[in-house]
Amino acid sequence: MRIAPDYSKEFEKIAEAYEKSGGKADNLLDKRIASIIISGDKVIGLNNVEGVEIEAGKQDLGVWAKIRILKGKKIAMPIHLCTGFLGKEGEQRINFEFIIEDGASVNFISHCSFPWSTKLTHKMTAIVKIGKNATMTYADAHFHSEEGGVTVISETHAIVDENGRYSNTFELTRTRVGKLVVKMDVDLKDGAIANLESKVRGKANDEINIKESLGLNGKNAHGIAKSTIVATDQTHARIINEAFGNAPYSKGHIECTEVTKGNQVDVATLPVLKVTNDLSELTHEASIGRINSKQLATLVAKGMSEEEATEFIIKGMLS
């Protein structure tokens, strides 16, 4: 990928932010890797490879992008999506449309980095269409500033056609959250499989709102929606995991683990299971509370302090 000279300085900063969030900036310049680099309301880099068609443009306060994976194409290297905002204050609106055509297969690595923003609202909407026998994995990692002034509102609507597979993971574990609103829903057709997973660590007065929803609408559709939240200090968290069993032999499992530390956290989880077809099976697991005392004792008996043991356990849960 070539970065336009006008944007070379901006790319350097975006690359720095990208690396902070765990990405490898070299990958953004690798011609063998499809990628798109967004800074504020500009597309400062875009690279297509065979089988991948990315179109993008400017929109009010942000960027739209349409990403198409052509029929039957198996994209060997993950597509990198880099979204950054270099200013301290502002709003960024991103609209993605993913079309994974029949029989195609692709992995996405997305990094959203706002390490210098003190008052930013980032709104992202994604429409995902996964064709028959197609596969898409999407791993989204966020890196925010430590001031807690970032608000992220993320909505993903996915349709997975017959025997398609979709995996979406969201992670915000390394920095302050600020305010987070995540909504993910997926409509699963016959034989389709989905795995939705969110991992978030809140501290200070962070606010976390997550709603994951599985629509098991096709025969033999399977889905898992899983959330792991670590809430410390005055974190406020509300997690809703839903599964709707609307088709025969469909199976859904929802799971929420919320670990709390401190007596000022305010966390709640609400599992919702609804069956409209008596051949569907839905299950759920949920737990809220402090770190498991047996886990703690096992580690403390090895010479760790309670603080060290807690960190060790949390790090594992969020890895």
Binding site: N292, Q295, A297, L299, V300, A301, K302, G303, M304, G316
Partner: protein, 245 residues
């Protein structure tokens, strides 16, 4: 030396341990034998310093230092550790990280492999997660390997054969031998006389008191002939019997 002197411990008003005296020396192998419900695990948890297992009277000494009021972390730092009866899962933590406690323990890869080999596991386990993907028996072995990595002075093994198939008692004995070679005292809590007979010294516990102590073969014989058939005699009977010994 680790010494329990005249321990009396109650939990929720119920007497669990009474007039308990035990001594453990470095480099020796001990067994605390007894049926279920006799207070064996309470002894283990009390030595380790777990909350809710603090004696109401009596003292615990480690090399002459009174550690009765020290918490579990401090006792662990002084060289006491335990492999609990129940192995817990640690989601997202690989065996390699677990054995080194996230880098807190500085050991070479070779030492980790040796620890795994000692408990009958191959190198490939280093990359596995200490979660539900491992069986209870595998997690027990990982736990024992992690104990081996710590270089402690006193190791308590609470029912080490639970969760492992019968064939693996040989593995447990081999593991204990390896600890003894390193001059570590091993205190095995068990209800199985075939583990007890290999020790240097045994304590037979019944209803919270030491009913007999000494030669492990003799103690095991007594345990097998008397305790298996015993329907938990009441404490008065035991105390009388103890006083007659």
């Amino acid at each position: 030396m680790l010494e329990l002197r005249d321990i009396h411990l109650e939990i929720d008003g119920k007497v669990i341990l009474k007039r308990l005296n035990m001594k453990f020396e470095i480099g020796k192998r001990y067994t605390v034998l007894g049926n279920n419900g006799t207070g064996k695990s309470t002894v283990a948890n009390m030595i380790m310093g777990m909350e809710d297992y603090r004696p109401q009277s009596g003292r615990i000494y480690l090399d002459g230092v009174d550690i009765t009021d020290l918490d579990m972390s401090k006792r662990a730092q002084m060289g006491i550790t335990i492999a609990f009866q129940e192995n817990v899962r640690f989601d997202g933590i690989r065996v390699l990280e677990y054995l080194t406690l996230g880098g807190k323990i500085k050991k070479s890869l070779e030492e980790m492999k040796n620890a795994l080999k000692l408990v009958g596991l191959g190198d490939e386990y280093l990359k596995r997660y200490v979660d539900g993907s491992l069986s209870g028996g595998e997690r027990k072995r990982i736990e024992l390997a992690s104990i081996y990595m710590l270089d402690p002075k006193y190791v308590i093994l609470d029912e080490p054969d639970s969760g492992i198939d019968m064939m693996s008692i040989e593995t447990i004995n081999k593991f204990i031998d390896a600890l003894i070679k390193r001059k570590i005292a091993v205190i095995t809590i068990t209800h199985r006389e075939e583990i007890a007979i290999n020790s240097d010294y045994a304590y037979l516990l019944c209803a919270g008191i030491v009913l007999k102590e000494g030669d492990p073969v003799e103690i095991s014989k007594y345990y097998k002939s008397m305790c298996d058939a015993c329907d938990h005699p009441n404490e008065i009977h035991l105390v009388k019997e103890r006083e007659m010994i």
